[in-house]
Amino acid sequence: MNKSVDFSQPQRQSLPGILVMFANSLQKTVRALWPILLIWLVKFDTLNKLVFFGSVAGVVVLIGIISYLQYLFFKFHIDDENGEFVIQKGVLNKTRITIQLHKIQQVNINQSLIQRLVGVYKLEIDTAGSDKKEASISAISHDLATILKERLINSSQQDTNFNTENILEENTTSSFITIGLPSLIKIGFTSNYIKSFALIFVFFTTILENLQQLNTEVIDEDKVTNYLDTLPVITSFLLVIGFFIGLILVVNLVRTILKYFDFTIQKSKQAIILSYGLLSTKSTLLNPNKVQKIKITQNYFQKKLDVTTIGIHQASSDVEKVKEKDQIEVPGCTENERDAILKLLLGQLPQKGKMYLPNWRKLAVNSFFFLLLPIVITLFLNQITEFVTWKEWILYTSIFTVFTSILLWYSFKNYRLFVSNDFVIKQNGAWDIDTTIIEPYKIQAIEIQQFFWQKATNIGSVTLSTAGGTVSFTTGNYTEIKQLVNYWLYEVETWEKNWM
């Protein structure tokens, strides 16, 4: 390593870090004092200007001093003797965070907008332990961050790999895959409709609520309704639908591009580095050994456009909480790129092996719960309240029936489990078809379940738990499932390979 940096001595963050801390503290304060600020703004004219600006200036200066002190007391170093990474911080309440190097699971280098302006990076350390204390250094130069990252990651690998020195020297990262703008546009247009719809919905309702509270009439509701009333029903209906679809597409596109702009996968000797983002650049280090579950998602449009999304789930200590972070998404790769990534993560392309199908009763049960039951409930409700006329009810119900039947049929048709020696692959989904891949030796626990009425028909379910999430197959042939469980147990119990 030509740039040898001594991490054994406690050192501070880079100096511009004060600004970052200042901005963070300011943001926190503003967020905490948000209601008061709002009241002040509304009553701005009646306020004593001197008191107002005086207190604002006072708070800003106070935050500045606190930030400087925080900077002064924040020190980090690597304790080689005990194999620990140590962070000391705190002005009044001293905190000392020690992380054992071999427990470090992932080191991320991120950059928010402010950090980008100042030219520093944030380094976050994820551990595998059950303790939830998290370590992060919020202002560090890029060079230093990269070196520290390599140091931390390599030390954490030491027990499995002894030639750390070589790795440091051969620190040549080669760009492996870059996802260009066209792929992102394709993905933006074809995925996450529901998520974006929810976002837009929340956005509009909050805006409307706020407008109503402030009693200002920026948009005249009556005007809009009047305008829509002048048009024929179908046209206005289509207009509203079209407007929303357009909005969803635009929001989707913008979100995808902002989040995943310039997505590159780099392969260094030990780990895989993903970096992406337009406004705030994120860089994530990924260790193939720690990948537990891979989920490939593709829908009909995406198939035609040759793009897929790959979700990579890593081992996480707290399944509920760290979900977001341990789940990395690679958006918009072509089939070739997908295969290359799979090869990189799994060492080989997964073979599908023997196919298992669910019992037809799965379709029947799903039809009962998602088709028949809603219809019966609306029938009863309408009987009591007469909310819509029966003609309309029949119209809506038939639309619903057709739509749901198609979805149910496809989700049943796509529901499959493939088992080969080295892989368990589950496929499901009606529109977005998910293919989940796990390796049997990464199974942590197996649960099989059967309702008493399923005994006669010999149906049951199985759930495989991994450290990155579960995979389950329901309403399958119970005898086959039990056979598979015996086989998986055999694999887990005999394979010497470490699951992480």
Binding site: A315, S316, S317, D318, V319, E320, I443, Q444, A445, I446, E447, I448, Q449, Q450, F451, F452, T463, S465, T466, A467, T470, K482, Q483, V485, N486, Y487, L489, Y490, V492, E493, W499, M500
Partner: protein
């Protein structure tokens, strides 16, 4: 390398988990189960009793009788359900994994291979301690959904099981006597 073999595996010849004879839980555990329900029941009965005592005219006599019959039926149903579900619970330890089966309506079998167990804990609730019972919980890295708890074991059995599993996870060194480890855990791991 002359020992190396790579014969194909016949899936039908693999040991079958479903044929393992499961061991039932200690019968005293029914008391624990019933006690857990009784708290709720006492609350319900107490509520109706106070209502009856202070404001008998709130319901007509027929409704009061219906409520009484309902509570009695519920109680009987609960006891029957508890007994039946108790008999459905069972566990077994094989050379390489732990099996626990439970459930009356939905029969669930959980299997955890020992080489995936992260650590073992021994729990004792208030009632369990009075009855000399304990439960053993096996933790894996798969999150709370894949942890396995075997309740209703005699404390001595639970301790044996815990030590057995700990030894499976970390095989003890030759020169280290095992007794010391077991007494240590006895002191530290007993909590509610």
């Amino acid at each position: 390398m002359n020992e190396f073999t790579n014969n194909p595996i016949d899936i039908d010849q693999l040991p079958k988990f479903e044929e393992v004879q499961l061991k039932g839980l200690n019968p005293k555990y029914i008391t624990v189960l019933l006690f857990n329900f009784s708290l709720l029941l006492i609350l319900v009965i107490g509520g109706f009793s106070t209502l009856f005592y202070f404001k008998q005219e709130a319901f007509s006599n027929t409704i009061w009788i219906t409520i009484l019959v309902g509570i009695v039926l519920f109680l009987v149903g609960l006891i029957v359900f508890t007994k039946l579900s108790f008999h459905k619970k069972g566990y077994a330890f094989r050379e390489h994994d732990a099996i626990y089966k439970s459930g009356l309506i939905s029969e669930t079998t959980t299997i955890i291979p020992f080489n995936r167990v992260q650590h073992v804990a021994l729990h004792q609730g208030f009632i369990s301690r009075k009855l000399g019972l304990a439960s053993v919980e096996l933790f894996t890295a798969g999150g709370s959904s894949s942890d396995l708890e075997i309740p209703g074991l005699l404390l001595a059995d639970a301790q044996i099981i815990k030590n057995l599993v700990s030894q499976k996870i970390n095989p003890p060194k030759q020169d280290e006597p095992i007794e010391i480890a077991s007494t240590e855990t006895r002191l530290t791991e007993e909590h509610e």
